[in-house]
Amino acid sequence: MSTLAIETKDLGRIYKLRGNKKKEARKELIALQDVNLTVKKGELFGLLGPNGAGKTTLIKILTTLLSPTSGWAKVAGADVDREPDLVRPRINMVSGGESSGYGLLTVRENLWMFSQFYGVPSKEANERIEALLEMIGMKDRMHTKSSDLSTGLRQKMNIVRGFLTEPEVLFLDEPTLGLDVGAMRDVRKFVLEWLRADKERTLLLTTHYMMEADELCDRVAIINKGRVLACDTPTALKQKLQKDVLFEIHTSPLNGLTPQMLVDQPEVTKAAITETETGAKLSLSLVEESALARVINLFTQKDIKVMNLNKREPTLEDVFVDLVGRSMAEEEDSGQPE
């Protein structure tokens, strides 16, 4: 039995866009190109990229909503294009940033209805609804019409809808888009609790929030303009970018300490000093974190006090910039449709 929850091979998708005028030739937009990914069962896998990178297109293909134009994809062992009926009972999806749902129905009715489409017995469905609403902190809104919910609560209801059917593979497409900080925190906590409750559960998350991917995901694929540029654990991605460890240290006056004295220490590769009102700010690049002890020892010899010490590691944003040459925000400004 395969240990893979998701597998894609040379997956591609080209959209044909009609021009404004009827006689205008159709333009082609490459939304996905040669995407090769494998996601293991039990993994929380992240797709990280700017708007228009192709994340939603990939999710649409994996959830059987859209046919690929090249390559193939399997979810839960079944081909999404040829065997959609085998895929659907085993998946679910939640899209963020939209107010979907039947406003005339209460939260419970909305959720119960979807559970029925998945064949969950009514009694069991009601128990699950209650438990999940409790987990996400909106049990008290169970009998509220969904049209009366705030955007954040409606989004939470949708998240519960996705989890309610206990899918083997769950797709979350920007689930925290448009939520306030508190709601985002609730959702992330909920996602992790749900995933950890069963090792067979797999979750594919798309996001353009770097911190979200870093915090939640076991592995991350960085995607831009339809291509997967890198795929690894967040830590490994950052380590590949920069092997040195970065520190930023605020100290009392340096008493004659120079950058060269610091670089002369073993395993200190770079040192920069900036004078401040109260003393100095040092930026150090170390081969190993253990080299910090030698630096601190030098401070002691020079009677320098450490006021503040921060370890600064490369972020996924740094990784993205390194791979693409531009920040995510700059990429989004290029305006390719998702």
Partner: protein, 284 residues
């Protein structure tokens, strides 16, 4: 497994459709709307008829057009109800994609949504007919009604309308703009070509074959014959055919339209999936 999937798709969709249809306002307003809407439609026809015939409500023509118009409510309710579910779910509720990824039978789901509209439509049809009987001299003798023919015709006709609705739902899926008008346009065309309010003989000769090809023509004729047999038979369009012959033609055409509808829906469904149209919204 397949039966179970189809049944839960239909049952839950019908429940959803009914909740949407009946809960958009408070019960009192819903009741008023359910009565006023069909009566307003009938009133327009009655007034027009009264003006043109100078108040000759005793003519056999009146129950003919009155009942045709009353049962035509089902066309708008069931046929348009099925196709409108696509517009509702995709544009308004933004849930169509979630329906599509669920392990349900989408055509059956859409038919279930139409099923709810059948209930609402039945209320309107009943109110319209009762008004005709009690206030407008539409004479239906319950003892002479051919109930067997009535219920068989009604059932087959409603299924036929739902299946035509499925074809329109497929068309709606692949239509980017103005998809909401598809059902209305087809319903209006059928109104002219099905002999709903006038015999097909009124149409120019070259247009009559269109009417003869529509299963709705035979459906309405059978419903009228089953309720007011003699009056309906007095009209020339299908008078040379027996009830059984008309029923046979209706069943044959219903099967043909049903098969074509399912086929068209499948093609449109594939096109929608290939072109990413299932969750596309037009934002107006």
């Amino acid at each position: 497994m397949q039966t179970s999937t189809s049944w839960r798709s239909f049952r839950t969709a019908a429940w959803l459709g009914w909740v949407i249809e009946s809960n958009w306002t408070d019960p009192f307003l819903f009741a008023v709307y359910s009565i006023v809407k069909p009566l307003s439609g009938a009133a327009i026809l009655v007034i027009m008829y009264g003006v043109i015939t100078e108040g000759n409500f005793d003519s056999a023509l009146f129950p003919y057009i009155y009942l045709g118009n009353a049962f035509y409510i089902y066309v708008g309710a069931v046929m348009t109800g099925v196709s409108w579910a696509v517009v509702d779910d995709r544009e308004l509720y933004k849930t169509l994609k979630y329906m599509y990824i669920a392990p349900i039978n989408i055509p059956i789901y859409l038919l279930g949504r139409g099923g709810a509209r059948f209930i609402v439509g039945s209320i309107a049809v009943l109110i319209t007919i009762l008004t005709g009987v009690f206030f407008l001299n539409v004479n239906i003798n319950l003892a002479e009604v051919n109930w067997g023919l009535f219920f068989v015709s009604l059932t087959i006709g409603v299924i036929m309308l739902a299946l035509i609705g499925l074809m329109l739902a497929g068309w709606t899926l692949i239509t980017a703009r103005h998809e909401g008008f598809i059902g209305e346009a087809v319903a209006a065309a059928l109104y002219i070509f099905s002999g709903a309010v006038f015999p097909l003989d009124v149409l120019p000769e070259w247009l009559r074959p269109v009417g003869y090809f529509m299963p709705t023509t035979y459906w309405l004729e059978l419903l009228r014959r089953s309720l007011v047999g003699d009056v309906a038979q007095a009209f020339p369009t299908l008078s040379q055919f027996s009830n059984l012959e008309i029923l046979g033609v209706m069943i044959g055409l219903s099967i043909l339209f049903g098969l074509v509808s399912v086929w068209v829906f499948k093609i449109c469904d594939n096109i929608a999936r290939e072109n990413g149209m299932i969750d596309r919204t037009t934002n107006y």
